[in-house]
Amino acid sequence: MTERVGVYVCHCGSNIAGTVDVVDVANWAAEKLGRQGVIIAREYKFMCSSLGQELIEKDIKELGLTRVVVAACSPHLHEKTFRTAAKNAGLNPYLVELASIREQVSWVHSDKAVATAKAKAVVSGAVSRVIENAALEEIKVPINPNTLVVGGGIAGIQSALEIANAGFHVYLVEREPSIGGHMAQFDKTFPTLDCSACILTPRMVEAGTHPNITLLTWSEVTNVAGYVGNFHVTIKKKARFINEELCTGCGICQEKCPKKVIDDVYEAGLGYRKAVYTPFAQAVPNFPVMDKENCTYFIKGTCKACEKFCPTGAIDFNQQDEMLHIDVGNIVLATGYDLFDARRVSNYGYGRLPNVFTSLEFERLSNAAGPTSGNIVLRDGKTTPKSVGIIHCVGSRDKNFNNYCSVICCMQGLKFAHLVHERTGATVYNFYIDMRTAYKAYDEFYQRVLEEGTLFVRGKVAEVTNAARNEREKGKLIIQVEDTLAGKQRRIPVDMVILSSGLQPRADAKEVGKMFGISCSMDGWFTEKHPKLDPVATMTEGIYIVGCAQGPKDIPSSVAQGAAASARVLDKILQKEVALEPIKASVNQALCSGCKICNGLCPFNAITFIEDDKVTSINPALCQGCGTCVAACPAGAISGTGFSNEQIIAQIDGLMMRNLEPIVA
């Protein structure tokens, strides 16, 4: 049967029509591609508008089109729109092809004649290909209503609570002994200066006691298999050496434990904890964990002071790591950020000059529950600084380190200026390149800090040194900077320097991303499906990213994303089943030689090897139709529905215009 093909060329306003002669393309298609089955070719200002869609639907019905080619933008944008239109008119949606003449033609060329010629080739390729398309049916799979949230910072907590409140079960997995994330370390939060603990702890407690939330702290995900609606997840629950059934959280073990350890996580290295500990008083859950690396008993074989004193006999030195296997339908990743390691900027002296502090250290220093009970003092533990310099953009906006802006550190620098001012009365300098306070009530906060008398110096600090040049500088930290507004180099002696270190992706973000089948940007943050229109979804169905795992952001935005992802998850759960694209690869097992080359290549872990038959097989529910294996198979045993060899070759022939008269060179 010869196909009846309709070609629809979109102007996209002037986006395409400005560079491509769309009328010419349409006329050419009608005239030259008739032999291919093109019976109608039209151009229209906005094909994606409802009028444009109706045009196509009408032609399908009235002219009996069996194939449709829309020459417009990238299929990423509107493939779905036109497929739906075809479906409405009674045509199988997979018999529609998009020819990208915007992203691949008009936006990348300036010469109209060349662009028009290329557009014709692209249309010709799509026409040849669509003829080889097969009518496909969507695959429906049921959705497991349980959800996994990885990371118990504010973003993860928010996400878990919203889903749990809607009546569905959530597993909240956190690798540290307590949930809370970075927010639990702060004293005050900008711009309103509410006490961080006061607003965070109720959420933590709610998450810890919620009947629909299974809280798994001191735990990590070790394996993920399956696909949207049906993920199988393995979680390692590390031994706490505390029997959670018996422990009442009285804290006697921590009190009696003789082993003091520097707390690099919660206290940012500025304070101590014991070998058996809960990181902070309001920890959720409040069972302690025993840190095996540092416990005297595990090192030397004697001690057990904790066991002796525990009133309920909850200490259990024989506890082992446990592997849990759970099934969930959707996964939210909320793994947050690491603080940039300021030692790398060696001209700022962190790690060499004692009174240079990082931002997280300062958060602990100013926190009433911190190591100095909120007294802002120098590293000697007693001297109150009389002058403090706060340096912005440490490790951010710097091609030597991280190229991006960390978003929160200007505001955090202003917050610190306010706190130092309020608590010590010291003279405060803020050194900045650009003041970035773009959000609700943020610039007002800047105004407030200006009003309080903070001295702002516009210039990226060149160095912090203890090499004094005169009496005034002796015994001080000297901040050397160009005051770019005064146009002059200045040396400002201060007692204390605070570095607004940037945020960076978790050290293990790449491996974690790989485990969940999602990718990271060049900078290392998890990549969203669409930077503007789909910021919490990923290219892998059923996996969502929220909070700082997706990129630097403040608490309000982290919370908003946590909630946004929950809405997406609930939407999926309530649909009860999910339609999977039928674009899949499959193995012709008669051709498969069992070489296993494809086995490790699938980014979605869809390929398994059947040992008994010595052939490879692809799980259609897992396969996302990326085509990697198809290209890799040396035996040509794998082919893809929606991208069969026939389709690809036809498309190439079309592009080369081999379907027309032979081209004379």
């Binding site: 060696s346 390149i433 210039g459 090499a467 004094a468 900077v481 770019t484």
Partner: protein, 530 residues
């Protein structure tokens, strides 16, 4: 990645005649300048050790370039004061090649005859003139000539330099260019036989100062090659690297001058090594820079090779490994081997390690532990048993050529270094660079006059201390020719330095100043102070 001007022009996206002033400067600069990317953060102006004396901070200059203020920029003293310390370069968040832009601006200013204070351009031109005549530069003769022209009254202050360094020799022996260097080439014996471990073999680029102002460096280097089983083969017919001066005059000749040495060295690669070792930081940087920029900007590489071809030479960038002496000692020979060779540990000698600026920066090949506080020299001195004092200024600039063109500026920099070392209780400074050694040693007296201070801070080459620790006598490692005597400092560790010369008596404050002696042109091409 945003398109740099260079690429845009090459791709025909921008016509050369439409270039803005900023783009023009960017195009004329070696390597990819990234000048277009400046975000006016001020890191450069904040880092610059000589900013106080500059008409404009580097950042301001770049803003003025953007604004098209050609005349004002080319009249600014800023490029002339730049000491090429590369502090700004490694710190600039946008990777702007600031020091190289300064060279470009110097060249443009000379060309446009816009820079009016003649001192600095004259120094560059004197230097270039000398190199073009003699093939090598001699800081001392140069300094003398330059002082006579510009600061006649200062000359007496630097006269003591003449005692330590053989002025006549520097000019007189030019006929035989490639003298052999003591034990370095003299004993080819078993080394060239079969079964020789070529691991320790290197091509040596001595640089001009090694047989003029820094003879002590050369002598002490000779004294350690044997204990450490090092084999250094001098590059035949090498020429001056142009120091920091040539780059400002004319880009292609400057890079060709440097690359000629690389081309010569690459001819000697068949002797079993591709590593060039330079003991002088400025030479090391120039050689490394030429190698790097010829790769980074292939058009530069092609032009340089065109120039080299005239002399029948060719250099394929990236063929050689350019390294500094201390790099080779710490990372190839290794601290363990050095520790083993120590027979007379320097325990009790309080030293500050002074790396200088051009060695760890800009560090094209990522060789150093850090740009700001590298620890290689500290580690090495510790291996010798010395008491190493933490010295925050270890990579600050010694003043470079500013001793010649803006002495007050240089005195300030020398003062910072010496006073901080003194404050920290150092008995001496230890350096890896002839220029640093000369500035801090030869100009310390004048600096003291200038500030009314009385510092006595000897500065020795690290190889001199290695020699001592390996059991050599002071005179075998060139100790005794330094102007700020190390005798007292070395007495702390029981090393007796024989008196070879009377230290120059400091000039009394109210003493009248003698008139400088007149220039006379000598027979042949030689010029010397009579």
């Amino acid at each position: 990645m945003p398109q740099m001007t260079d690429e845009r022009v090459r791709a025909g996206m921008t016509r050369e005649e439409d270039l803005s002033l900023l783009n023009e400067v960017s195009m004329k600069t070696a390597g990819v300048s990234h000048l277009e990317m400046c975000i006016q953060c001020g890191t450069c102006g904040g880092s610059c050790p000589v900013a106080a004396d500059m008409d404009h901070t580097p950042r301001m200059l770049f803003a003025m370039l953007r604004a098209g203020m050609r005349e004002e920029v080319l009249r600014s003293n800023t490029p002339w004061l730049c000491v090429s310390c590369y502090h700004c370069v490694v710190r600039c968040p946008q990777e702007v090649h600031i020091a190289d832009v300064m060279y470009t601006l110097k060249g443009m200013a000379i060309h446009a005859k816009l820079y009016t204070d003649s001192t600095a351009p004259h120094f560059s031109q004197t230097f270039v003139g000398m190199v073009e005549t003699f093939g090598r530069g001699y800081e001392l003769g140069l300094a003398t000539r330059h002082y006579l022209r510009h600061f006649p009254l200062r000359l007496p202050g630097m006269m003591p330099m003449g005692f330590g360094h053989d002025l006549e020799g520097a000019y007189g022996d030019r006929a035989e260019k490639n003298q052999t260097h003591g034990s370095i080439d003299e004993d080819p014996g078993p080394r060239q036989g079969i079964g020789v471990d070529l691991m320790n073999k290197y091509l040596l680029y001595p640089g001009c100062s090694m047989d003029s102002s820094a003879k002590a460096y050369m002598e002490s280097l000779n004294s350690i090659v044997e204990p450490l089983d090092l084999h250094l083969e001098e590059i035949e017919d090498w020429n001056c690297c142009g120091a920091t001066e040539y780059l400002g005059i004319n880009l292609i000749p400057a890079y060709s001058l440097i690359a000629r040495n690389l081309a010569l060295a690459s001819k000697q690669m068949d002797s079993g090594t591709r590593t060039v070792v330079a003991p002088c930081s400025a030479c090391y940087l120039n050689l490394a820079k030429a190698d790097y920029y010829m790769q980074e900007r292939p058009t530069l590489g092609a032009k340089v090779n065109e120039a080299l071809a005239a002399g029948g030479l060719e250099y394929k960038a990236g063929t050689l490994d350019v390294r500094h002496l201390i790099d080779v000692l710490v990372y190839d020979v290794g601290l363990d081997a050095i520790r083993k060779a120590v027979t007379h540990p320097l325990s009790g000698l309080k030293v500050v390690p002074y790396m200088g600026c051009m060695l760890p920066r800009p560090d094209y090949q990522h060789r150093w532990s850090d740009h700001e506080h590298p620890t290689e020299l500290d580690d090495l001195l510790r291996a010798l048993g010395a008491d190493v004092i933490d010295y925050p200024l270890t990579t600050s600039c010694c003043g470079g050529h500013m001793t010649q063109i803006g002495p007050e500026t240089a005195f300030e920099l020398i003062h910072r270094l010496v006073s901080d070392a003194d404050e920290r209780g150092a008995q001496m400074m230890v350096t890896v660079c002839p220029m640093c050694q000369m500035n801090i040693d030869a100009y310390q007296n004048e600096m003291n006059h200038f500030f009314g201070t009385n510092f006595h801070m000897p500065i020795l080459f690290f190889t001199q201390l290695m020699g001592l620790a390996f059991g050599k006598a002071p005179n075998e490692v060139g100790i005794g020719v330094e102007l700020v005597s190390s005798r007292n400092a070395l007495a702390h560790i029981g090393v007796e330095v024989p008196v070879t010369q009377e230290p120059a008596a400091p000039r009394k404050k109210d003493e009248g100043l003698p008139m400088p002696r007149r220039w006379t042109k000598h027979e042949g091409k030689k010029e010397a102070v009579k």
